[in-house]
Every structure is written in structure tokens, then in C-alpha cells.
Amino acid sequence: MLTTVIAGRVYDFSHSVGRNAAAGDGFSYPCAIALASQGVMYVVSRGNETNYGSRLTKVFVGEPGEEKVLAEFYRYGSNPGQGLWPNSVALDKQGRVYVSDDWLNRIAVFDADGNFIEQWGTAGAGPGELDGPAGLAFDADDQLYVVDSRNHRVQVFTPDGKYVSGWGSHGSGPDQLDTPWGIHIDTHGGVYVADWKNGRVQKRDRNGQVMMQFGQPGDGPRDLNHPTSVAVDADDDVYVADWGNHKLRIYRPDGDLITSLIGDAQWLSKWGQQSIDANPDMAKMRRRVKSLEPEWRFYYPVAVAFDAERDLIIVADCQRGRLQLYKKDRNYAVPQANL
């Protein structure tokens, strides 16, 4: 359904943005989103070894049909300013762009237009060293939290890469982590970590003390299957990309599940439509398909972001090369039931 009305909230599908593309208008296995302002965002494409479409795209996403690529950088390669396995992206208060690379074990820094500034990071398992840097998030003091995934911990750095602190160890205990992925810091300083292999999300305070957790491994309605990303909205509702279950889970601040979204892209994105218009046989075959419903759905949704300026939930739909956007509608008038 396009509109979900539940528990005093309304989630209304807006539109999708993107298509599978190794360059230009689209994404190649989008895996992370960082929001700037006024509709500008940065999207990480993981890419593949067939066409090496990994990159960072600066893109404007406005109303349906208004999307526009503004810049592309962090192309495939191991030279400064390039990357092999880009994983995540975050912006500091100056709008500089930080990209983690979970093969090169480094963080690359760019200005807002994609001009390379510096890179830092040392491979290893000691304090301040990295093995598989994944999710990134800045706190209110502009300290960068880095999910150090294969060291099963979170480390905190200054923006120029000086080690500050860290927490987490490998395991499935209440305060342990197993190959974590995404991270989010809410406006109160709460730190949410997608504890990927443990099938849960941990909420910790800024010192790393566990405050609560969401989910357990599995595919049931209250389970999580390898969650990858977390976002929190202005009401402190929590959004979790339940990657392996192909769902976006939405929780109340106390961790109670509100609902799950499964993807609703019932019409093509602007760039998707352009692909079809340019390939008449594709259009003909689409008319012969019994149901296009599989195309609407998330397929390994890997990242979620909440645009508080517009009350927009933005989901990176990894296998489909697109973003799906939902409006958290605060002005929805519910029609009478008996229509």
C-alpha cells in the first residue's frame, strides 16, 4: 500500500530516485546516504567488478522528477581520492564529506564539491587502527564515530583522524558487537549501532554504555536479519534497514515496533523511465509481465536517512540501484472508513 496509517503516524510513499547505472544518472549498489540541506545529499555506490561503478554521487533530490546529479567523485582506484570498497559517508559541520573504505581501511575527506582534501587511517587492531571501517556519524561536537567492523567496535576520532576513544568487543553478549555496520547519533547524543551479525540494533550513550536494544535475529515481525543502518526522526522514532528481511522497520523511541515498510515504488523513477523510453523492447516486455509488484519492493535495503527539513524517509534500495522516499505526513486527514 502506498499510504500506511498506524499508531498516529502516516507514512506516504512519495517517489523513487535512480536506476542501475555505472555512471551519471543513477547508482550502482547504493549503500549509504548522507544528507546536506535543501534536498542535497551524498550517495555511496558500492559498484561491482563488471563495470567498476563505485563512486560518491552528490545529488539534488527535490519533488518527483526534480532530481539532478551535481557531482561524482571517489571513483574506483587506490590512489588518494579514489576508493575500492566505499562503505559509508558522513558530513561534518563545515559540510566536508567523509567516506569510509572497508578494504583500504581509510577515511577520505573531500570538500562539499568533491575536491579531495586528505585521507587518514591505519590498518590494524590497535587503538585508532582500522579493520573494515563501515558506518560513519558525527556527534554534536564534530567528533567522527567510525564503525570498525572487523574489529567489532566503534572508534571515535577527531575530524583529522586523531584517535579519541573506542568501545565494543567481539561477541553476542549484551555489550558486544559482531561485524557491525551502520551507525547513527540522535539529537540527544544517543548512539545507535546496527549490530549486523547479531541481528539487533544497540542504543548506547556517548561513552558506549548500552541503553537498550531493538530486535533479535530472525525473519519474524519483531526480528532483524542482518540490520545495516539506523536513522532517528524529530519525534525520536527509530528507522532500521532490515537488510536481510527486505524491510524498513519503524520503532517507537522505547523500542516498540510501529510498522514495517516493504517498498512501494509503483511507478518508475524519472531516470528509470528514461531508460525504458530509450529501449522500446524493454517497454514492450514490461507490458507482458503478469505483475510488476516485485519491482515495487525493497531488495536488500541497506541504508536509511531521515530528512528532518522535509519529513522524508529515504531508503537506499541496494539491489535496485535507487532510493525510495516516503513522507512522514503530519497533516494527513484520515478519510472515513466506510467509503
Binding site: R19, N20, G26, Y29, C31, R46, G47, N48, E49, T50, N51, L84, W85, D102, W103, T179, W181, W196, H226, G244, L268, S269, W271, G272, Q273, S275, I276, N279, D281, M282, M285, R286, R288, V289, K290, L292, P294, E295, Y300, V302, C318, Q319, R320, G321, R322
Partner: protein, 469 residues
């Protein structure tokens, strides 16, 4: 108490029923016992398949690779290197040899991987059910044109190969049987899939179109009726030729190299009694592949068949990677550097040269492929920082000083145990003697010994004997 014979036999079993195993695993399995290991391999309920989530975290494109290499190869190689169910994976490879389906036409690694997953799931189950699943497999339907097999325009491609290459072999049916079987499979097709633009691949699904099925009477292998596809398969599996054909395939894959399949009509099996025993099991068990594998792996003809097969490129590459370790996680360029290695050696997985599959045995070897094989394996075993090589070095070091004879024999033992001819051993010994005894007392000696071990392992894998399984 595990002795060298137990280790040797277990190594033989794991080379054939899997992709080899490091020494620690051989010791553990040998202590558990041969029959118990066979049982665990055939019914792998307590061991884990490869973790596909890990693959997709690092290489998301391996899920829906499309029509271009190498991401499809990445997917399968990851499974073969990481699975703890080696026979399950080996059977997927076996059926890929028999039911050879290729990307050259299918242009869709997604569907080929789905077929391999089906082999993983059903490869040790009931053969009749496997054939039905194969007949409904979209990659196969497209590969052999059954989507073009219509009630009023019969296409015989699938019907013919079902009898010739997938169940009985030439000489056991007539052209009329081919026609009748093909008529029975009219209407077996796949539904139109959502096209690949703009959001990537979507799967084909099997579809039975009753209106396009020839529901008339058919005469097939002496039976008469309004047969549908499953009826044809039911009749096929009852034929003595079917049991014999599958038995010979299993013998060829797991025991000893047979001539190429097209010549089976004129070349008798090298061990007719063994093939007959397997065929008997096929029929007595109601076409149960697991029962055939139990018969095979517990037979004397298997246990005595050390090093009688030329390693396929997949066996060589995967066996080496599992031995030396370090390739469990994907890495950048895993496709070209690792997953396509069998392709460079003449076995382009998921893309066999034709429906007949690969010519195997000594035909794997030519001057080009031999160089590729040796170069790859030598580079791997010469990388003394890899965990599996480190383990071998540690085991050698634990023996203390080793004179050249003991050095050579220990290395051959850890690499198999391998059996080599007198001339080969002499060559290895001459190399070992140049450096004298292996010593480990000082840092310099350790450093020098590590280098010498790496060189010795490289020399061993360059020998003729290492090409055999």
C-alpha cells in the same frame, strides 16, 4: 588411534567428496571415522553452508550478476571455498558437468546460479525429482529451447538431450521416442520476467501453459498414454539404461576417469562391476542419489582409486585455496584474480562449451592450461604468509631439524599425503640436498627454512603427480 593409512584414506575421500582438506581437518575426521565422515558428508545437517550474507555485504553484485562475468563466478567460488558441506557443493559441480547449462546462450548468471542452488538443494536427493526440477528450471528451459516447444510446433532440443545426455545415453531410445518425449513437454515454459532495465534482473519463473500442451496419446519406450512431462521422466528413470548412465557418470566424476560421454556407446566402462553395483543401488533405492554415494564411497573400488583422476580446474583451484587459506572473504578483484582462475585453465564455470559439458580427464591438460595450473598453485603455496602454508610450516618446525629425506617426505605428507614416483622424489631430494638439513634454532635459520619450505611446496605442485586427484 589415527595412523597414516587413515589420514591417507581420509585425504582421498575429501579430495573426491569435497575439495580436499587441511591436515587439522583430516586428523579430526579420521579420528571420527571413515563411515561416520561419509555419513556426515552425505547428510550435512549439522554443518554450515557458505554464509551468503557475508558475500553480499562485501560484493552485493554477486546476487544478481547479469550476463557479464565475473560476479557470477565470484558467487560460486565463494560458496566452494567457504562451505562446510563440501559434498553438497561437489554434487552441485557434478550436476553442472552432467546438466551443462551455459551463459554463452542464457546470458543470465542469476538464473544459472539459481540452477546451481537447486543442485545444492536436490543434488543428493531423488534423481526423479531432480529431473523434474531440472525440466522446470528456467535456465535449462531457455538453454534447450523448451520455451519454444509448442503444441503445434514441437521443438525437440530438450526432449532429445533429456534422453541422450541427461538420463540414458545414445542407443537406448529411438527418434520416435525423442519426438514423443518432446510432445509431452510442450507447454513447459517460463513466465515473462520484468526486464533488466532500469532496476536490474528479476527472475524467470516456471510456467505450465495447459493450452499449449499436446494432450494427445503418445507412445514412449513401449508405454502408451496421454503423457505429460513428469510421466516421461517416470518412465525414463525405470529404464536399466538410466541407472547405468548415472552410475557411470558418478564413477567418472568420483572414482576414475572414463572416456568422454559421447563415446560411451562404444567404449565399455573400465570397471563394469563397479558401475553395475551403483546402478543396482539406483534402482533398488528408488533413484536415491545419496544411496548411490554411500555405495560408492564405502566400496573397495573407490578406496583403492588414489590419484586416478586428473583434477578439474575447479578442483585444482578450490582445493588449493582451501588448503592455503586466506580466500574466505571476497576482496577487490576477487573475480579476475580468484574466481576466474578455473576459466584461465579451461573450465569456465557457469559457461560450459556446450550441452555436452567439458571433456574431462587428460583433456584438461594442454601446454597452456598446464602452465596456468602450475603458476596459480605455485604462487599460492609459495605465499608463506598464508594461514594454511603457515600451518604446514609450523608442523614441519615441530618435527625439529629435518634432513633432506625427511624434509621431502614431510612436505609430500602435508600436501596430501601425496604419492610420487621414484624419479619425482629424486628430483625433490636433489633440491632439498642443495640446502642441507632444515634447521629452526635461530631467527636466520627459521627465515631460511621458511623460504626453503615455500620453494619445496612450489616444486611439488609443479610435478606431474600434483595434477591428479
Amino acid at each position: 588411534m589415527v595412523d597414516n593409512h587413515d589420514i591417507g584414506l581420509m585425504a582421498h575421500l575429501m579430495r573426491r567428496a569435497g575439495f580436499g582438506a587441511p591436515r587439522e581437518e583430516l586428523e579430526r575426521r579420521a579420528a571420527k571415522g571413515y563411515e561416520a565422515t561419509v555419513e556426515e558428508l552425505i547428510h550435512p545437517k549439522t554443518t554450515e553452508p557458505a554464509d551468503e550474507y557475508t558475500l553480499l555485504r562485501y560484493q552485493p553484485a554477486a546476487l544478481l550478476p547479469g550476463g557479464m562475468p565475473p560476479m557470477g563466478n565470484v558467487n560460486w567460488m565463494f560458496h566452494m571455498v567457504n562451505t562446510q558441506r563440501p559434498l553438497e557443493e561437489k554434487m552441485a559441480l557434478f550436476w553442472h558437468h552432467v546438466f551443462a547449462t551455459g551463459n554463452s546462450k542464457v546470458d543470465n548468471y542469476d538464473q544459472l546460479l539459481a540452477q546451481i542452488a537447486m543442485f545444492r538443494q536436490r543434488g543428493m536427493g531423488n534423481y526423479r525429482d531432480l529431473l523434474v526440477a531440472l525440466a522446470k528450471d528456467p535456465a535449462m528451459l531457455y538453454w534447450l529451447d523448451n520455451n519454444e516447444n509448442h503444441k503445434d510446433a514441437v521443438n525437440e532440443n530438450w526432449g532429445r538431450e533429456l534422453l541422450e545426455l541427461f538420463s540414458m545415453g545414445q542407443g537406448n531410445y529411438t527418434e520416435k521416442d525423442v519426438r514423443q518425449a518432446s510432445r509431452a513437454f510442450t507447454g513447459w515454459t517460463f513466465s515473462v520476467k520484468i526486464p533488466r532495465l532500469p532496476y536490474g534482473r528479476f527472475p524467470w519463473e516456471f510456467e505450465y501453459v495447459a493450452e499449449d500442451h499436446d494432450d494427445g496419446e503418445k507412445e514412449f519406450l513401449g508405454h502408451t498414454g496421454n503423457f505429460n512431462g513428469e510421466d516421461i521422466i517416470d518412465i525414463v528413470v525405470q529404464q536399466p539404461a538410466c541407472g547405468h548412465f548415472i552410475a557411470r557418470h558418478l564413477y567418472n566424476f568420483f572414482v576414475a576417469d572414463e572416456p568422454q560421454v559421447p563415446s560411451w556407446k562404444i567404449n565399455l566402462p573400465r570397471d563394469e562391476a563397479a558401475v553395475a553395483a551403483l546402478a543396482d543401488t539406483f534402482h533398488e533405492s528408488g533413484y536415491d542419489i545419496a544411496a548411490m554415494l554411500t555405495t560408492l564411497f564405502t566400496s573397495d573400488f573407490f578406496k583403492e582409486a588414489y590419484f586416478t583422476k586428473v583434477k578439474s580446474p575447479a578442483e585444482l583451484v578450490v582445493g588449493t585455496l582451501r588448503l592455503v587459506g586466506g580466500a574466505e572473504l571476497p576482496r577487490p578483484d576477487y573475480g579476475r584474480d580468484v574466481a576466474l582462475q578455473p576459466t584461465y585453465m579451461g573450465q569456465d564455470l557457469l559457461n560450459p562449451p556446450s550441452v555436452e559439458g567439458w571433456h574431462t580427464g587428460k583433456e584438461w591438460i594442454n601446454s597452456g592450461s598446464l602452465m596456468s595450473r602450475i603458476n596459480f598453485v605455485a604462487e599460492m603455496v609459495g605465499s608463506t604468509d598464508l594461514p594454511g602454508v603457515q600451518d604446514m610450516i609450523g608442523r614441519l618446525r615441530a618435527k625439529g631439524p629435518l634432513d633432506p629425506d625427511a624434509f621431502v617426505d614431510s612436505c609430500l605428507d602435508l600436501m596430501g599425503p601425496l604419492q610420487v614416483g621414484t624419479d619425482t622424489r629424486q628430483e625433490l631430494l636433489e633440491q632439498a640436498r642443495e640446502g642441507g638439513s632444515l634447521a629452526w634454532d635461530t631467527a636466520d635459520e627459521v627465515e631460511a627454512s621458511v623460504v626453503r619450505v615455500g620453494e619445496m611446496l612450489q616444486l611439488i605442485v609443479a610435478m606431474r603427480e600434483y595434477q591428479f586427484n
